[in-house]
């Protein structure tokens, strides 16, 4: 019974595949893997916009949307209808083809990365040998789409927003990949399925997730911070920066194309959250042995929703960075910490099991953290403000 519920989607796919002639099997199999992804994640996007607005409202002691439907649950439908019926405006000076292509490329790229995310036991669209590499390689194309949007609009604000976005994404891609590399190094595989399998065991009630180890915890935090920056969310939402450059690279987009940008932004957020779950939070494994009756896909989505809630919480709390702070934080803090974390993970892998391994790994991370924190933040040199004209 429990297994049947766990494998319900896999079994359903097999049932649907049975009557198909063997010539068409690969095509139908691919379609049956892709179509649910195309339906589930936009649905999750709609749910997340609602949760985000409600949650932000409550964080700021407001009610949040509560008009459309009971408790406002139909708000995403209303938003969607409103966006779809808006006029599609293309500026006169724009390069029309690239202007059209940018959101399309962005959405396609955002969907492609889901191919390697294991959503449950036996539930991954393609188990690539180089899955993690695929994830990051395809993800980089998003930067180009952002540039296309910013440049094709012929608007100085969108160009500025695009430049900011690209600079930010490049700077934070390095700690993002470096913190993922620690996991790849310890498991010895780039395949997402193998990485999840490596976190299957339990000691007592405690799962062997990588986040439970010192280097894994540090890697997880670094990964989350970089992922926030990669998906341009607050406090790293400078590319959009409503108060300074209006809406960044998508000022000149309206109607359906704007909705595509919005969708792609959230899809990117879900994708990096899913990657964080796969790499550090044990993928679809239950958090304790006595919780293993929960279907694996339910575990994954609960973890995903928890991470999304964390992102919303962070957005409701933290103010936006300044551009120079953003860059310095990446190059002077995140990248050194990611490199140190890499060494720590390597030592963890080399040393035998025992308390000294924990001690070494912990000290190797904590010492640079405290030193960097003291030297960069405490003496106020890190965020020292320089004025060009005054003083």
């Amino acid at each position: 019974m429990i297994d049947a519920l766990d494998q319900i989607f896999v079994a359903a796919k097999h049932r649907l595949m049975e009557p198909v002639p063997s010539r068409w099997q690969p095509l139908v199999s691919a379609l049956l893997s892709i179509v649910p992804l195309l339906m589930v994640f936009p649905g999750l996007f709609a749910l997340t916009t609602l949760l985000e607005r409600k949650g932000l409202g409550r964080i700021q002691n407001r009610h949040g949307p509560n008009r459309v439907g009971p408790w406002g649950v139909l708000q995403p439908v209303a938003d969607g209808l409103k966006t779809l019926t808006k006029e599609n405006v293309v500026p006169r000076g724009a390069a029309p083809f690239i202007h059209f292509l940018a959101p399309v490329v962005l959405v396609i790229v955002s969907f492609l990365v889901y191919a390697v995310l294991p959503l449950g036991r036996n539930m991954v669209a393609v188990d690539l040998d180089a899955g993690v590499l695929f994830f990051f390689a395809v993800g980089t194309a998003a930067e180009l789409a952002v540039f296309m949007a910013g440049w094709a609009s012929r608007n100085k604000y969108s160009l500025l927003g695009a430049m900011r976005a690209i600079a930010q994404m490049i700077s934070y891609e390095i700690p993002l990949i470096l913190s993922a590399v620690t996991v790849v190094m310890v498991t010895g595989s780039l395949s997402t399925v193998r990485i999840v399998e490596a976190q299957a065991e339990y000691t007592g009630w405690i799962p062997h997730w990588f986040v439970m180890q010192p280097w894994g915890l540090a890697g997880f935090i670094l990964f989350l911070i970089s992922a926030t920056a990669e998906s341009n969310r607050s406090p790293f939402d400078l590319p959009e920066g409503e108060s300074e450059i209006i809406a960044g690279y998508y000022i000149e987009y309206s109607g359906f194309k704007f909705a595509l940008f919005f969708l792609a932004e959230y899809l990117g957020l879900f994708a990096v959250s899913g990657m964080a779950i796969t790499l550090f939070l044990g993928g679809w494994h239950a958090p304790a042995p006595w919780l293993e009756f929960i279907p694996s896909w339910a575990c994954f989505f609960v973890k995903l929703l928890a991470l999304i809630a964390l992102f919303i919480w962070g957005r409701g709390t933290l103010p936006r960075f300044r551009q120079d702070q953003l860059m310095e934080f990446s190059w002077k803090f995140m990248i050194p910490m990611a490199l140190v974390n890499l060494v720590s993970a390597a030592l963890w892998q080399l040393m035998d099991c025992g308390p000294e391994r924990w001690l070494v790994s912990f000290l190797l991370i904590a010492t640079p953290y405290l030193l960097l924190g003291r030297s960069l933040f405490e003496r106020n040199q890190f965020f020292k403000r320089t004025y060009r004209f005054a003083g």
Binding site: A130, A137, T140, A141, G188
Partner: protein
């Protein structure tokens, strides 16, 4: 000659020509990116998964973005003036076409034209990693050194010389 190869080859070649012949510089860069992604797909089609993804990561994520930044920093996104067909252009095209002729002639004459398709070799990431760490460890270190030197060198070159003025 499979259909996917023909489609990818046409796309790649057309994008490469676009990259060299379009007038707005940004369009050239975008065409270059399309061409390089086509090459990455060709690598995947040839069974070199790691090479294909590495191509995407390096060329689209790094080199493409770098060129875009250079275009914007040198204000290259303005439309260049249209030029007439000058002598240098004819000379360059002539050289290129003759090089192409020689290459195609050499390929058609070569002894590598065995019509049988060898079985697809496997190149897992693990094998590549092993090879990089054992047989090719010296070149790997050298490339690392080269990249570090290039990083520092390009920062030094592109840095503003503010103190001198």
């Amino acid at each position: 000659m499979s259909l996917p190869f023909v489609i990818l080859a046409l796309l790649t070649a057309a994008a490469a020509m676009g990259a060299m012949s379009l007038r707005p510089l940004v369009h050239c860069v975008l065409a270059l990116v399309v061409s390089l992604s086509g090459l990455a797909c060709l690598y995947l089609q040839l069974g070199a998964q790691f090479a294909g993804f590495a191509q995407l990561l390096v060329y689209i994520g790094a080199v493409g973005i770098l060129i875009v930044f250079a275009v914007l920093l040198t204000r290259g996104d303005a439309m260049p003036p249209r030029r007439s067909l000058v002598q240098g252009r004819v000379f360059g095209l002539g050289v290129a076409v003759s090089v192409l002729g020689v290459l195609v002639w050499a390929i058609s004459r070569s002894c590598l034209m065995s019509p049988t398709l060898p079985p697809a070799p496997v190149a897992t990431v693990e094998q590549i990693g092993d090879a990089l760490m054992t047989r090719f460890v010296l070149p790997l270190e050298l490339v690392g050194l080269l990249l570090t030197a290039a990083l520092m060198g390009s920062v030094m070159i592109a840095m503003q010389e503010g103190e001198d003025k």
